[in-house]
């Protein structure tokens, strides 16, 4: 019987044939940490090892609160910079670079066939490039600092086949919200999820990243796509190393197969306070919003800017609504500047913020007050996620966000554009 993608990569790393359920000890190719590196460094020192096992495998990106919002965050960044210097870590990106899940692909660290871990749940994003990528805890990263190794359970695989033809304006975000809504917040628990089918093949690399980014939102260990010409074109001139794509054997065994025809898909939103509380925009349209957040590692790439700027060009954000715009990386910021998107959004009344995670986990740059409501292009709408437990978060696509910014209420773009 053939092997799945996950069984092959974990098998290669252990030098033997592995089966789902087995627990293996492996050395990841890349290990990512961000602003939590100071805490990880502290645990690393508690372990009692003085030098990193292999500094070249580590990538550190400051993004969760950049620039530092207060003295505590500043101290945190200071400790990380000192640790980076002390350990001679060369793959370090300071506050001027962007969100880790965008920066690693841009810098050519996310490669087909790689085993990647990150001390952040959305590390699943790198699966869009054919890597087996998953989130781990801080202590586990400290142990990788010390030994290079981690234990992983070999996952069962769920195959998700997306077919049909998306209607104009319906995006990867709507597809992913549909999947999470259908399968629920634990529908992919512990699973390796393979996204495939003609709709995935037709998607840009950026759109594929939306799906793998949110794979953790239905419990998956990892989400991935098989690399194709688009993947290879993206990696051209970026890839940090030679790589060999890994794909599932034709006769590999999948635990489950979920087929989704998206031809009739409507714009969707995830309603408070869980990502699987998914409804058609039509069911909640007219709901007043105080803020639109266009940003995050999910949906703030250049294709998203093109859509949002296209809607807001020559128009104004509704006076009862604020709009916060945060590009996913500095490269995207610069490209959006060059293409005029930043000017369009600023002229429309949006507040443009430097690249980083922003308000997405409640740190700064757009925190809500009690009773306020945001429509966000990000990935998580848990209570308190925007820093205030008495606020409400709706998640939607960049197009839904742009349409809603114009009206100050959750809006169906098909009715107002």
């Amino acid at each position: 019987m053939g092997k799945t993608f996950a069984e092959k990569i974990l098998g290669q790393k252990t030098g033997k044939s592995v089966v789902p359920g087995e627990i293996v000890e492996v050395k990841p190719d890349i290990a990512m940490s961000h602003d939590n590196t100071a805490a990880i460094a502290k645990t690393f020192k508690e372990i009692g090892v003085s030098r990193l096992d292999d500094p070249g495998r580590h990538v550190i990106v400051l993004d969760h609160c950049v620039p530092a919002a207060n003295e505590k965050f500043a101290q945190n960044h200071k400790e990380i910079r000192a640790f980076v210097k002390e350990q001679s870590i060369t793959n370090f990106y300071d506050i001027d670079r962007g969100i880790c899940h965008q920066v690693l692909p841009e810098e050519g660290f996310a490669l087909p066939g790689y085993l990647m871990v990150g001390s952040d749940s959305h590390s699943t994003t790198y699966g869009a490039f054919g890597a087996l990528a998953t989130g781990i805890g801080r202590s586990e990263m400290a142990v990788i600092f010390a030994t290079g190794k981690i234990w992983l359970r070999v996952p069962e695989t769920m195959k998700i086949v997306v077919t049909g033809q998306l209607r104009p304006g319906i995006s990867a975000k709507d597809v992913m919200l549909k999947i999470i809504g259908d399968l629920s917040a634990d529908g992919g628990l512990y699973k390796s999820v393979w996204f495939t089918g003609p709709v995935i093949a037709a998607m840009s690399v950026s759109s594929r990243m939306v799906l793998t980014n949110m794979a953790v939102e239905f419990g998956a260990k990892n989400g991935y796509m098989e690399p194709d010409d688009k993947t290879l074109a993206f990696l051209q001139g970026r890839a940090r190393a030679a790589f060999t794509p890994v794909t599932s054997d034709p006769d590999a065994e999948f635990e489950s197969v979920y087929e989704l025809d998206v031809s009739d898909l409507e714009p969707l939103v995830a309603c408070p306070h869980s990502v699987d509380n998914v409804k058609p925009v039509a069911a909640v349209k007219g709901t007043h919003i105080d803020q639109v957040f266009f940003g995050s590692c999910t949906n703030a790439r250049i294709e998203d800017f093109e859509i949002v700027a296209g809607v807001l060009k020559g128009k104004k954000v509704h006076p009862s609504c604020r709009m916060i715009v945060i590009p996913a990386s500095q490269q995207i910021f610069l490209e959006a500047l060059a293409k005029g998107y930043i000017a369009i959004l600023a002229q429309a009344g949006a507040t443009i913020v430097n690249s980083g995670c922003g308000p997405c986990m409640g740190n700064h740059e757009g925190i809500l007050a009690p009773g306020e409501r945001v429509l966000s292009t990000s990935n998580r709408n848990f209570k308190g996620r925007f820093g205030c437990k008495e606020s409400e978060i709706y998640l939607g696509s960049p197009l839904t966000a742009a349409a809603s910014a114009l009206t100050g209420a959750i809006s169906d773009f098909r009715e107002i554009l």
Binding site: G48, G137, S139, V143, N363
Partner: protein, 166 residues
């Protein structure tokens, strides 16, 4: 292995990391006692105030979904929680509990068989939970990770493996 005798705190499905340990504190609250004081802040304001040593959290499916933040496991440990029992755990939360040395027990009957406030007894060695509604068996931890748990968590376990603690 030890027996854990404690009172029940009962919750539902999909209790996420953000309500257990809010994101806004992840870089600002690091002291164990301070972490214990904000445990479950956005889910149950009474919890941190009234929790007693060895109290036990029971919940439905997908407990600890969301972030990788291990403070969501450690803050419960620091608050004195003896164990968490759930119908299922998020993958990251389950790992973080093992790494924190906090028992995370999967029980298909949770949380319906438990009543808030009642006292139950967990026998980690025997793999049993004795509560007013009956005696239940939970599956043992995987063989490959039981050593981490028995050593008190991932950091002490790693020190032992590396020969730093002899």
């Amino acid at each position: 292995m030890a027996k854990i005798i404690g009172r029940i705190w009962k919750y539902g499905d999909d209790v996420n990391t953000d309500v257990i340990f809010p994101g806004k504190y992840t870089y600002t609250v690091t002291d164990p006692q301070e972490m214990a004081k904000i445990a479950m802040e956005d889910l149950d304001a009474a919890f941190a105030r009234e929790v007693r040593p060895n109290d036990i959290i029971v919940a439905g499916k997908n407990f600890g979904c969301g972030s990788s933040r291990e403070q969501a496991a450690f803050c419960l440990k620091y608050a004195g929680v003896g164990a968490v029992i759930a119908r299922s755990f998020s993958r990251l939360y389950f790992r973080n509990c093992i790494n924190a040395g906090l028992p995370a027990l999967t029980l298909p009957e949770s949380p319906e068989i438990f009543a808030a406030g009642e006292t139950i007894e967990i026998d980690l060695g025997a793999g049993t939970i004795a509560c007013p509604s009956g005696l239940y068996q939970f599956p043992p931890l995987p063989e490959a990770v039981i050593g981490i748990f028995n050593d008190g968590g991932l950091v002490p376990h790693t020190r032992k493996i590396l020969g730093i603690d002899r």
